[in-house]
Symmetry: C2
Subunit: 399 residues, 2 copies
């Protein structure tokens, strides 16, 4: 089964918008075992869109068209598809009523061209999910198929997962179910992970399913993705559970989260479960930790605040690990929190390798510290220090 | 003149990397007046890359291939281009020596396959700019041309601007020069800007050059792009200068910067020129201001620090504008800075519309304040408040 992606919109070609839809669809198709060999961007031009759709149907079994379903005159995806299908457009009364209702319920006046979005090529089926005003389309062409979705990412995602993917899998005759799980790691290199998992890789090569792949993701750590292909959902879930348990056994505390969990949300959950609050002294991290935490904990019920002061933890004769510990205690006291965190870099005269950072966590008066090496450029040193600092807290609280 | 973009790499189709190169190239081509009607992504597959290049040469005058020039076995762009040209690859001794030298100078061992990067199709010219180990290629095919660049963005940018764009313009017979300038604005809606500039738009429609276009860019404000097409560089620069002066006359202080200037860098420049330092009380902005400033002012010589404390500026009987002013003075005093900034949101009981924010700047003891409406969702309210706060400081210092 081969499926192409056609992203439609002159603003994509002009670089006003970066086409992230194709990348998302490419990932989803790959996870579902559907080949995607071509992804094309084309402008709002009838002839060129038509040529791209015809070529896609020529060399693939399906094409997903994203964009050009809106109400304005340059939204012509519907018209082009009708032309490729050799049929007329017909206004769908139920969709027209829905669009009218959407405007009314928001107290807005609807201009008539909005009803163009209710036009459906004869023989096509509108996609039931309709978070916006434009419905998606499933347009069969013999044994092949054209799908159309709006270019708005969340609307496209919903239509793809709810209708297009199941339809593609049915057409591919895939009786099997493909499920994946991502284990998020921090603190080990990709080659380090590969070494620990080497034997398991060899075993899986023989088994065929599940498969494991790494994905380095900068300050989001390295992701270990498990993909299971099974006869049904329950079997796939069992395979994923078993493989996760096995990998956890091998990698241990390097795994900080699963799927969409971030280091912030994991640490926040841990703190909340233990009824703890925390504050941070941002000496070298420049406010990045606070910005991330205040976004994850909008009410600031668990993250109580902090300060950004490059002077914290400098000099005074004490060793850098002592200065980091003192800063953690000080910020904890100032904000009346149970936990204080701090990260400091030693001064040049102290003779540490560039990129050396001292992390400290004060939990109810008990000091925990760690010396780590970060990338020496300041931007990455800051971002990596934020994650390393949260990771120190995570490991300490989980111990 | 039509030029396509072909992004090569299986990781692009799998969504592991989002293809931002095509968007960048699309913008550059549009600015240069060169049409780009198609942008295609294809995997590391000989036959499919070849088909894409042949199709591009069929329907366009030029194609820029990005990616697949590295040293590994799946980097086959060179080989495919040689096949399309009907020629063999020949090792370029000078490039091979350069690659060897790059490894030696970094003290790294070079594996032999790195020298594949020195292979050039007979009849092609390597691109002189070579920031990495892979050179780009200019490959003429009759009156058409294939360009190849690495997929690494900064290497691609350098080769495009240094060699490919001038070559494209020469081929297009463009004697004229196209130059653009972006005026960055904050504080006025797109329709507000359009209203102020309406008469000028009408005049420019008749003149033909320069042209003006808006680009809404979220927390980067709304960009006003002026594009001038003239006989030579000097004339284009004069047109841009004149148009900028005219637009500045109409828009006034709404314009905060030009081209790549950000609100942070503009404010930092102003403060540095006046020998001022500053600190910020981040009550509602959660550390975002500090994170941005500490990145722009890595040494923290001008931005002295701040605190993140949701309790600052709450209650106490005083009005919200007074509480904002008090927080600005307090943080200024604590960090020994000349300027203190603060943004606070009133409490629900105070009866302001959701999204109301009070901004305050204390400059050497003189208070400046402003009441603004921000988007009510917390994420955007924070980000917009950061820019609005810096903008208040900018306007006050420029007055």
């Amino acid at each position: 089964m081969r499926c192409e992606v056609l992203a439609i919109g002159t603003e994509l070609l002009l670089g006003i918008i970066v086409d992230s839809n194709s990348a998302w669809l490419g990932e989803q198709l790959a996870l579902a075992g559907i080949d995607c060999y071509f992804q094309v961007k084309v402008g709002d031009n009838f002839g060129r869109i038509e040529a791209c759709i015809r070529q896609a149907l020529d060399r693939s079994d399906a094409v997903i068209c994203c964009g050009g379903l809106g109400p304005t005159q340059d939204d012509i995806t519907r018209d082009v598809i009708a032309s490729v299908m050799g049929v007329k457009l017909q206004r769908d009364a139920a969709i027209a009523a829905k669009i009218r209702h959407m405007f009314e319920s928001r107290g807005r006046v609807m201009s008539q061209n909005n009803l163009r979005q209710a036009d459906v090529p004869i023989g096509a089926t509108p996609i039931a999910q309709m978070p916006g005003t434009a419905p998606g389309l499933v347009c069969p062409m013999g044994d092949k198929v054209i799908y159309a979705t709006p270019g708005v990412p969340n609307e496209m995602h919903e239509m793809f997962l709810g209708t297009i993917l199941p339809d593609l899998r049915r057409r591919a005759g895939q009786a099997s179910v493909i499920k994946s799980r991502v284990l998020r790691t921090w603190g080990m290199s990709e080659s380090g992970l590969a070494e620990v998992l080497e034997k398991r890789f060899d075993e899986l090569d023989k088994l065929g399913t599940p498969t494991i792949a790494f994905q380095a993701s900068g300050i989001d750590g390295i992701k270990v993705r498990i993909v299971a292909k099974c006869d049904d959902e329950a079997a796939a879930a069992r395979v994923l559970d078993a493989e996760e348990a096995l990998i956890r056994g091998l990698l241990g505390e390097v795994i900080f989260g699963v799927d969409e969990q971030s280091m912030e949300t994991v640490v926040l959950d841990l703190l909340r479960r233990k009824g703890l609050t925390f504050a941070a002294a941002e000496t070298i991290t420049g406010g990045i930790l606070s910005a991330r935490m205040s976004l994850a904990d909008a009410a600031m019920a668990t993250y109580r605040g902090g300060w950004i002061d490059p002077a914290t933890g400098s000099g005074g004769g004490a060793k850098p690990e002592q200065r980091a510990a003192a800063a953690a205690s000080q910020v904890r006291a100032q904000f009346g929190a149970r936990v204080g965190l701090a990260a400091i870099a030693p001064e040049a005269a102290e003779g540490y390798r560039p990129g050396t950072v001292f992390l400290a966590a004060d939990i109810d008066g008990a000091a925990h510290g760690e010396q780590v090496m970060q990338p020496p450029d300041r931007r990455r040193m800051r971002e990596f220090s934020v994650i390393s600092l949260l990771n120190l807290l995570r490991r300490t609280l989980s111990a």
